[in-house]
């Protein structure tokens, strides 16, 4: 479990370039949750998630992992990084090895695991992200954009993290590549049942899979709750440049026009259900 207590962060503090990026963010992230973080560009999403595995040190506040302050003297942040796996935005830019397998092995090898274990984890991870075995010995630089990204995700997955954090994993991909990535993420969530934190600037396509949505604005948490709770504020979300799923607008519009739906819907199935029930009455 991760717990953030009033975490603040300022880039280059004490200079003319000082840039406050996070302001007293408090969050509780229990095990096994599927969380979406949304927010406009520059709202502090990337900065926030880099705190989760101790890559940046907060300029204020404390972060606890399983009850321990991760910036304690004797807390191993190197180990934390294997427990909280962080996939950066455009992770394919970090590939460097000569073959796909070798690149995925980088993480587990850094953990000083036995050879067999390393190989096992590597193949498992590659299989989960849907990279077929004829690509194992290919150069990562010869793959397509979507494949590269899945290899990079496998590189983090092979460390068997308890929490997997992905920063805008679908950015810059074509619809097919995007679907493959999202499928891989859902498969990870299903197979491993770990905590997954998905960062995105739009949440329409994942709204129905996540348990919880956190909305960031100007370095603070603006909303935090189930998709339904969050998207109920679709008007306010629009003001900060975020969109709710289309069905939310549709059901909201119906309610405005006097159709007695009990609430706004966040998924198509839910909306269909509501409307059906309304029609029967």
């Amino acid at each position: 479990m991760l717990y953030l207590d009033k975490v603040s962060y300022t880039y280059s503090p004490g200079t003319a370039m000082a840039m406050p990026a996070l302001h007293e963010v408090s969050l509780e992230i229990p095990d096994g949750q599927f969380i979406g973080i949304i927010g406009h560009t520059g709202s502090g999403k990337s900065t926030l998630i880099q705190h989760l595995n101790g890559l940046v040190k907060p300029t204020g506040g404390v972060i606890y992992y399983n009850g321990r302050d991760i910036w304690d003297e004797d807390f191993s942040r190197k180990e934390l990084r294997t427990k909280v796996g962080l996939v950066f935005q455009y992770p394919e830019h970090q590939l460097f090895e000569t073959t796909v397998v070798k690149d995925v092995e980088f993480g587990p090898r850094n953990m000083k695991l036995e050879n067999l274990e390393v190989q096992l984890r590597t193949f498992e991870a590659l299989k989960t992200v849907g990279i077929s075995d004829e690509l194992y010995d290919a150069s990562p630089f010869d793959l397509s954009g979507g494949q590269k990204r899945r290899v990079a995700i496998a590189g983090v997955l092979a460390m068997k993290p308890e929490v997997l954090v992905l920063d805008e994993p679908t950015a810059g991909l074509d619809p097919a590549g995007r679907d493959e990535i999202l499928e891989a993420i859902f498969r990870i969530k299903r197979e491993r049942n770990i905590t997954v934190i998905l960062v995105s600037h739009s949440m329409e396509d994942v709204a129905r899979f996540v348990d919880r949505i956190i909305v960031m604005e100007h370095g603070s948490v603006k909303y935090d709750g189930s998709p339904k709770e969050v998207f109920r504020n679709y008007k306010e979300l629009e003001e900060i440049g975020l969109a709710a799923p289309d069905v939310t607008y549709l059901t909201a519009m119906l309610r405005e026009r006097g159709v007695g739906l009990p609430d706004v819907a966040t998924t198509v199935e839910e909306a269909a259900d509501m409307i059906e029930r309304y029609c029967k009455h």
């Binding site: 003319a16 370039m17 990084r81 294997t82 830019h93 970090q94 460097f96 980088f106 850094n110 983090v156």
Partner: protein
């Protein structure tokens, strides 16, 4: 940690110096550097030093910030000091085996150190108050005359501005890649020398790949906008001297005049009164 490198960095504090025409600042810097070599009396150092302090105050760049960027040149400074301390012949005041400390040695070392210090701070003051773009603009416009003798001024300036523009981008990229590899358990500051060199591979390969990708993208983008050197090229904001720039030019000559007067006229007079200087 990479962000600690401040040489050549721009510090936006919006002072008068920031608003000066880059040509003025380039000329100022050149003149200041040259002036370092025309004086050799105590009074000369006072004039040069005071001028620098005033300029730093006007620039509103914290002195601490400037000095922080000097880490890389500290070694050079100390090396010069030591070399001058022990290699100058003259009146010996302390000796240990072959090491001789002379009165002249101390004098040269202190003055040489000061001179270097002025030089470095003086030129970083220019880069701190001038964006890379302004700087190359200034160079290109200032050296326009050289085109007549077939010096590719525009091309050189364009290359320089691209290089300067890419420094922060590559630093940022390095920072990001290091973080990304650290997230995969990479360790950069532990282990034996061999391990540390090996740990650089996961940084440098992605860095080179990204540098080539960016260069390629940029070339493509320039081509797409029909870039073909400065043939018929016009500027959106051509450099134009303002009143304040003329004043700044004038002040440069005032500085030079004061320096030479102090050094050549006042100092000999003063030495007569206070011989130890």
């Amino acid at each position: 940690m990479l962000r600690d490198i401040t040489i050549g960095q721009y510090y936006p504090s919006g002072s008068v110096l920031h608003r000066l025409d880059p040509r003025v600042k380039l000329f100022w810097t050149l003149l200041y550097i040259v002036s370092m070599f025309v004086f050799n009396t105590f009074l000369g150092y006072v004039v040069a030093g005071v001028t620098l302090i005033v300029l730093i105050k006007i620039s509103r760049v914290p002195f601490k910030f400037m000095v922080k960027g000097l880490k890389a040149v500290w070694m050079l400074l100390i090396f010069t000091l030591v070399l001058n301390l022990f290699m100058t012949s003259g009146e010996v005041i302390w000796q240990w085996k072959f090491l001789k400390l002379t009165r002249e040695g101390i004098r040269t070392a202190v003055f040489m150190g000061l001179r270097l210090f002025f030089l470095i701070i003086g030129s970083s003051l220019m880069t701190l108050t001038t964006t890379p773009n302004q700087l190359t603009d200034g160079l290109e416009t200032g050296l326009r005359g050289l085109k007549k003798i077939k010096v590719p001024v525009h091309e050189l300036a364009m290359m320089m501005s691209i290089a300067l523009r890419f420094i922060p981008i590559l630093l940022e990229e390095t920072d990001k890649i290091m973080k990304a590899q650290a997230a995969r358990g990479a360790d950069f500051d532990e282990g034996k020398f061999k391990d540390r060199v090996k740990a650089l591979v996961p940084i440098f390969v992605p860095l080179f790949v990204s540098a080539f990708r960016r260069a390629n993208d940029l070339a493509m983008a320039m081509e797409a906008r029909c870039y073909r050197g400065d043939v018929n090229r016009t500027r959106m904001n051509p450099l134009k001297y303002k009143q304040i720039d003329r004043i700044a030019y004038l002040l440069q000559f005032v500085y030079l005049a004061v320096l030479i007067c102090a050094d050549k006229l006042l100092a000999p007079l003063l030495t007569k009164v206070l011989p130890m200087l």
